[in-house]
């Protein structure tokens, strides 16, 4: 999907800019200009990523990468899976079953029965399929025997009473061959799934004796689908998503997914400002138009900025899912968590005009949230031109208590 040469070419311009700035500032400790963005070159902890339209060809502002999934312990019994969505808003790897081909993984077992998961989404769809362990390789990093979800409607019996809605388990419906959840925690359910009667109906044990059935079960943390980054031997305390700035739609856009924060020479915090998040809701507060939206978050897996606006300058498009300002809106907000605050200047373009192109990378794509003025979803357009750090809970990282997000000042 992306050649090494392409990455190099992309990287050279920002690096040159950073060099000029360093010379111009003469080593001053209080630069007045924002440092130019530097996108990491190919390295053992750097995975190329690409904003393209995905396997269905109709996915704007989605960022994809490839992962190598191997049978545990094997370096040859592997399958490279491309077009996997890079999602800092979820935790763990989910892959469409058919993308694995003939590769067999190790089935997780609970009470002698195969373990499966039903993971629900806000649009009334769900992922269904078995939880299996795999060795997951991304760039030069390896997560050994990590539980992943293999999306497969044909696996056992979907428990229709509690796993409700529309299955979303093929590349055609998912718009991707999988989802790489590299968000701020390790376990996709956590303690809500570990008690004998779990608080959440998410994990199921599937009887293999006829008639087969799937029954809600608890799932110990080590059995749960997990963020593979947290299982890397090193560079396991977070990720940086690095995508260049754009001021107009681009057919495609390439960048880097860097593993680790402050663990290598290419992943230091630099001038980035840390915004801590609430460790339970994984949110901070965004002050926008004099409203504190306390349930705000950063999410590379959201394909637009989603927020409610009281401004008449941001009318909704006719389809009510995006904003269509008559002229480009230049806006600003302030993100704050306990002990950290950082402002954000951002732009909202007219979505109908953006969609007249067939380009994948659309700057300033934005739309309304649920009308409650409680949440600002900083989706992929926020990442264009900013190196965005997502640290992982429980993993020490420079800059303060994890989990946090960090990004460079305006």
């Amino acid at each position: 999907m992306m050649t090494r040469q392409n990455v190099r070419r992309f990287v050279s311009i920002p690096l040159f800019g950073a060099l000029l700035l360093a010379v111009g500032c003469g080593g001053s400790s209080s630069p007045v200009a924002t440092p130019a963005q530097s996108i990491a070159n190919t390295s053992a902890n750097v995975q190329p990523i690409s904003v393209n339209l995905g396997p269905t060809g109709n996915y704007p502002d989605g960022v994809f990468t490839s992962v190598t999934v191997c049978a545990p312990g094997s370096t040859t019994n592997c399958q490279v899976i491309d077009n996997v969505l890079v999602d800092t808003g979820s935790f763990g790897l989910r892959v469409v079953g058919s993308a694995l081909g003939s590769l067999a993984l190790n089935q997780e077992i609970v009470n002698g029965n195969p373990l499966a998961e039903c993971f629900s989404y806000v649009d009334g769809t769900y992922n269904w399929g078995p939880v299996q362990t795999a060795d997951v390789q991304i760039s030069g990093e390896l997560a050994s025997s990590v539980p992943i979800q293999v999306l497969d409607d044909a696996f056992s019996v979907i428990p229709s009473a509690t796993c409700t809605g529309t299955p979303n388990d093929t590349a055609a419906t998912l718009g991707a061959n999988g989802i790489l959840g590299v968000g701020p925690v390790q376990y996709d359910c956590g303690s809500s799934c570990t008690s004998n009667i779990p608080a959440v109906d998410q994990y199921y044990q599937c009887s293999t004796i006829a008639p087969s059935s799937s029954v809600v079960t608890s799932a110990a943390l080590n059995l749960q689908v997990q963020n593979p980054v947290s299982l890397f031997a090193t560079d396991n305390n977070g990720v940086i998503v690095e995508l260049p700035a754009i001021t107009a739609p681009q057919a495609t856009l390439t960048g880097s997914l860097v593993f680790g924060i402050g663990t290598q020479s290419n992943n230091g915090l630099g001038s980035a400002t840390v915004v801590p998040m609430d460790p339970n809701s994984l949110t901070f507060s965004t002050n926008f138009q004099n409203t504190n939206m306390t349930g705000s978050f950063v999410d590379s897996g959201s394909n637009a900025l989603y927020f409610d606006s009281s401004s008449s300058s941001l009318p909704e498009c006719s389809d009510v899912t995006f904003y269509c300002p008559t002229s480009t809106a230049n806006l600003s907000a302030v993100n704050s968590g306990t002990g950290g605050t950082a402002s954000v200047d951002f732009t909202v373009f007219n979505a109908d005009q953006l969609f007249t192109t067939v380009d994948a990378a659309l700057p300033g794509l934005a739309g309304p949230s649920d009308g409650s003025f409680t949440s600002f979803d900083w989706g992929l357009p926020f990442f264009f031109g900013r190196n965005v750090y997502t640290s992982i809970e429980g993993k020490p990282a420079p800059g303060g208590t994890t989990p946090y997000w960090a990004y460079p000042p305006n």
């Binding site: 996915y59 718009g175 925690v185 809500s192 998410q202 809701s281 349930g295 989603y306």
Partner: protein
């Protein structure tokens, strides 16, 4: 839970019902409950096992709110009109409630509309379904979900969409 209550206090008081006029009825009922959008108020007591939840009821001048908190921490608020119909629901918390349960007969039209939107353009973000007879807005990400749904034709007089939260 605290987060949610805090949020309710912070909201601009666009409600037609002043906060001071709200009578709190704390029902210490040892039951679990969930009504569904468009259902009868009596259905609050149905499906007791489904959410394994606690219930708090708030009475205003024009409607009753049943606030149901599931063990996961997710709160579902169900708005019941004077004629005893659930005209709106709202949810907020770390895990999605069972939207099929909460939306009732409106779930299928909701998912069909959401699917139609996705066929046109794939993506991940909030879902807004706005039809003459049904409005659903569903958003959030892992550990932080929120949304609301209402039946415009069943909204009691003087109640607006902003009151549902």
């Amino acid at each position: 839970m605290m987060r949610i209550l805090t949020y309710f206090r912070q909201k601009p008081t666009r409600s037609a019902v002043p906060l001071a006029g709200i009578a709190l009825l704390l029902l210490a009922l040892p039951f679990t409950a969930s009504a569904e959008l468009g259902g009868d108020a009596t259905s609050v007591l149905a499906d007791q096992a489904h959410m394994k939840a606690t219930l708090k009821t708030t009475q205003t001048g024009t409607y009753t709110v049943h606030e149901i908190q599931a063990p996961s921490g997710t709160v579902v608020r169900e708005y019941v009109s004077p004629v005893g119909k659930v005209f709106a629901v709202a949810w907020r918390g770390p895990f999605l409630p069972d939207l099929h349960q909460v939306l009732g007969a409106s779930f299928t039209p909701f998912t069909q509309a959401a699917q139609a939107q996705k066929r046109q353009r794939t993506g991940r973000g909030p879902v807004v379904v706005q039809q003459d007879g049904l409005v659903v807005k569903s958003a959030g990400h892992a550990r932080n979900y929120f949304g609301k749904a209402y039946l415009p034709e069943l909204l009691p007089q003087g109640v607006s969409a902003e009151d549902i939260r």
